[in-house]
């Protein structure tokens, strides 16, 4: 054994490797992406690893491999589980043979997501078990247990860390070498692997009988436990358990119960903890899941216990918990001293805001600018999508009118066209998002005869989540060089008649391409091709000559962070400038070279 200081996502990856995982698939999404990236550093004979095209594909790849008895791992962020929910809902009925663990990382806050959805609720909805680790160390052990429970009950299981588990670091003890699980192989049995209404009915009954058994089993699962005594109890789940422990270290006698497997709920353990208890405070993030479970349990057993939490306003109903917010809730509940608040900062000066912006030299800025210039004065709608380019909404670009979910921009541009046929409707989609869930939207536009211009912002990577490869990059996670899937050929194959590929950093050519596409009816596409600045070398630094008339048009129109003012004069921040040259093409007097 050796000690490794790893990120929570690394601990999850190493735990899966220690369990001998055979197939790993997933789609990048903060805060889950580093799990697959860590596994790629430990290539094993008999281990297949892939970034799938989207979460649904990842789920299905892993499901059939698990039918064959292989141990499989699927990773995604919480909203990815929505994409994968179609196969998962059915898979919950069919079940698996080899252990199958689905990691869906929740993002309370949300810090970098669209929703504050709770994967524990998803597990309850799917009727499958879910594990909820409270630290990276626990995640490492728990994911190994998750494989065991999956095999014991022949069911896929969910594993839901949150951002503060995924991105926290801790030391764990791992084996010097990993091996892979041996499995039987796929055994044909259509009565088991082909879902039909009759099978669903039979398995639904089986599942409802099985889940209370799992709940009983979970009641003696070590991470579900309580300490302390007295008439007041604190129930906590996930990282909130760690925050509660942090505050309660000065009050070791207070009754504290960790719920590490929220579904099926470990009722026997909870009942044991509730013995002699008069009041309970639930500390959890996202939904009031544990709180609702306890209310049900207390009702069913006609116990006289008051339950406080999100539903009673004793804990915040939205947003992320912190050591501070949990300490505050606990001191209120227990009547104990509030945590030391530190210095009095009531006289703090106003702080500068640092909103996220597109990087200096980002080709997306040039693409947005070209469309903006080309469509100036014309009624247009700009439907955005998920990725770095969502930041195109910020001033001064102001080029994202809608953003909903992965791939939605393409289809939403069509909806706007049908209600306002006079307007020009644009959809902006990144290359990775195009493959993930953009393609079907293009087919929809063609089939239904919509008028729209698709702008593919092709920067040759999945930038937002940390530069993962995708089908258009010609590399995969097995370390192989593969044929690049051409976006242009894909669109042409679908039947898009007008496809223009331009370099967005050539402003005139880009503006002309947009005008040409906008003027034609039907479905048109522009592929703005220029690599992400984080994966390419800067081409040089721009210089501002004395010809500059200080009109600041470059700053006002691009908002590039490399354009700054020093003593009122426009200057280039050479530590940021990549030499993209967009500003030099905007300057009315040719002062930037």
């Amino acid at each position: 054994m050796k000690r490794e200081y790893v990120m929570g996502n690394g601990a999850i990856a190493l735990g899966a490797l220690a369990a001998g995982v055979n197939v790993v698939s997933g789609y990048p999404g903060t805060p889950s992406s580093e799990i697959i990236e860590t596994i790629s550093k430990y290539p094993q004979q008999g281990l297949h690893l892939e970034w799938s095209v989207n979460e649904k594909a990842a789920m299905e790849v892993a499901a059939s491999a698990a039918y064959a008895g292989a141990r499989t791992l699927v990773t995604m962020k919480q909203v990815g589980l929505n994409v994968a929910s179609d196969p998962l809902m059915s898979l919950a009925y069919v079940g698996v043979k080899g252990g199958m663990v689905i990691v869906a990382a929740d993002d309370p806050g949300p810090i970098s997501s669209q929703t504050e959805q709770d994967t524990r609720m998803f597990a309850q909805y799917c009727r499958i078990p879910v594990f909820d680790p409270s630290s990276p160390e626990e995640a490492y052990r728990m994911i190994q247990d998750a494989f065991v429970y999956s095999e014991k009950y022949h069911t896929p299981v969910l594993f839901r860390p949150t951002t503060r588990i995924c991105h926290a670091y801790a030391s764990i003890e791992v084996p010097e070498q990993f091996g892979v699980h041996t499995y039987e192989g796929f055994v044909k049995d259509s009565g088991r692997w082909v879902i039909f209404p009759r099978l669903s009915y039979a398995n639904h009954a089986m599942i409802e009988k099985r889940n209370p058994q799992i709940g009983k089993d979970f009641s003696s699962y070590a991470p579900n436990h309580f300490t302390g005594k007295g008439p007041k109890a604190v129930f906590a789940s996930g990282v909130s358990y760690a925050y509660a422990k942090e505050y309660l270290k000065q009050y070791p006698d207070i009754r504290l119960c960790q719920i590490a497997t929220p579904h099926p709920f470990p009722e026997q353990l909870a009942l044991a903890c509730l013995e002699g208890v008069e009041e309970v405070l639930c500390i959890e993030e996202l939904s009031p899941y544990v709180e609702t479970q306890l209310l049900q349990l207390i009702g069913a057993h006609q116990l006289s216990v008051r339950v406080y939490g999100k539903l009673t306003g004793h804990a915040a109903s939205s947003g992320e918990n912190s050591a501070d917010s949990v300490a505050q809730a606990l001191s209120g509940f227990l009547g104990t001293a509030p945590a030391d608040a530190g210095l009095d900062l009531s006289d703090m000066p106003a702080l500068p805001l640092r909103p996220p912006v597109l990087c200096a030299g980002c080709p997306h800025r040039a693409s947005f600018y070209a469309v903006k210039k080309a469509m100036q004065g014309k009624k247009s709608y700009f439907c955005g999508d998920i990725g770095c380019y969502t930041l195109g909404n910020a001033m001064p670009l102001d080029m994202v009118d809608t953003c909903l979910c992965m791939g939605a921009g393409i289809t939403m541009a069509q909806g706007l066209h049908w209600v306002d046929p006079q307007a020009s409707c644009f959809a902006f989609v990144g290359d990775s998002t195009f493959f993930a869930s953009g393609m079907t939207g293009v087919v929809n536009a063609l089939y239904n005869e919509a008028d729209m211009t698709l702008c593919v912002l092709d920067n040759s990577t999945t930038a937002m989540t940390g530069h993962q490869p995708h089908p258009g990059t010609g590399r995969n996670m097995m370390g192989n060089v593969v044929d690049k899937i051409s976006i242009e050929n894909t669109l042409a194959g679908m039947g898009v008649k007008k496809i223009l590929t331009v370099d967005p950093l050539n402003l005139d050519a880009a503006v002309t391409a947009v005008q040409e596409c906008a003027a034609e009816p039907g479905v048109k596409a522009i592929i703005f091709q220029s690599p992400c600045i984080a994966i390419s070398k800067p081409t040089g630094k721009m210089q501002i000559s004395e010809k500059c008339i200080q009109c600041k048009k470059c700053i006002r129109e691009t908002g590039c962070p490399a354009l700054i003012t020093i003593d009122g004069k426009v200057s280039i921040d050479e530590s940021l400038c990549t030499g993209c040259g967009l500003c030099s093409q905007i300057c009315p007097v040719g002062a930037i070279q």
Binding site: S171, K245, Y247, K249, D340, G342, C388, L391
Partner: protein
């Protein structure tokens, strides 16, 4: 040892390497360490923090308010933004060089860091480090991350010695950059030592 160290700055300043060096040096010394980073959208030109917690008594990944023994700030406003984490008798080491928000050229707020530095000095025990002159010999402000670690070691507030920090640097920093990094670390140490003597 129980020690909570908060590192803060602006995305791209090298705060992550600083936190990794502290965490691995402490781990090598047999300490239990937990840390956490801000990752994702917040990284792009935004405020970033790393929480490093040394000792068995740290359960949560993030430092509770009023608990940090030490704040290592790479930027004056970021020091103030994170001051709530500092213990009343804790210490702040802070770069004197302001980083203007990337949106500053669009909407000029006149931010130059001076108000922040004055606030820090009136509020807590702090050592303001002139990062510009400190890093000048090395040609890049990127060396400030090891310099501030050197200053914390020199002032005797990091709880780790120079030897163990230098060992981790040799391990974690690519060979072609190591010489400048060691020099920057030592330059920081001198500043810390001078402060410690005062």
């Amino acid at each position: 040892m129980n020690k909570d160290i908060l590192i803060c700055g602006v995305g791209g300043q090298g705060t992550v390497l600083a936190s990794k060096l502290i965490a691995s040096a402490a781990t090598s010394c047999g300490e239990t360490v937990h840390s956490a980073e801000t990752i994702g959208m917040a990284q792009r030109g935004g405020s970033v923090t790393s929480h490093v917690r040394i000792g068995r008594e740290a359960f949560s990944p993030l430092i509770p308010s009023g608990s940090a023994d030490l704040v290592l700030a790479f930027e004056p406003a970021e020091a103030v933004r994170n001051l709530r984490y500092l213990k009343t008798d804790g210490m702040v080491l802070c770069s004197s060089v302001p980083v203007k928000p990337t949106t500053e050229s669009l909407s000029d707020t006149g931010y130059d860091g001076t108000e922040m530095l004055a606030y820090l000095q009136g509020k807590c025990r702090c050592l303001i480090i002139d990062a510009q002159s400190l890093c000048a010999p090395f040609g890049s402000s990127q060396y400030f991350n090891v310099a501030i670690l050197g200053a914390a070691v020199g002032a005797g507030v990091l709880g780790l010695d120079a030897e163990s920090m230098l060992q981790e640097m040799e391990r974690k920093i690519p060979a072609k950059f190591i010489e400048n990094n060691i020099a920057a670390f030592r330059a920081g140490m001198q500043i810390g030592e001078a402060y410690g003597i005062k």
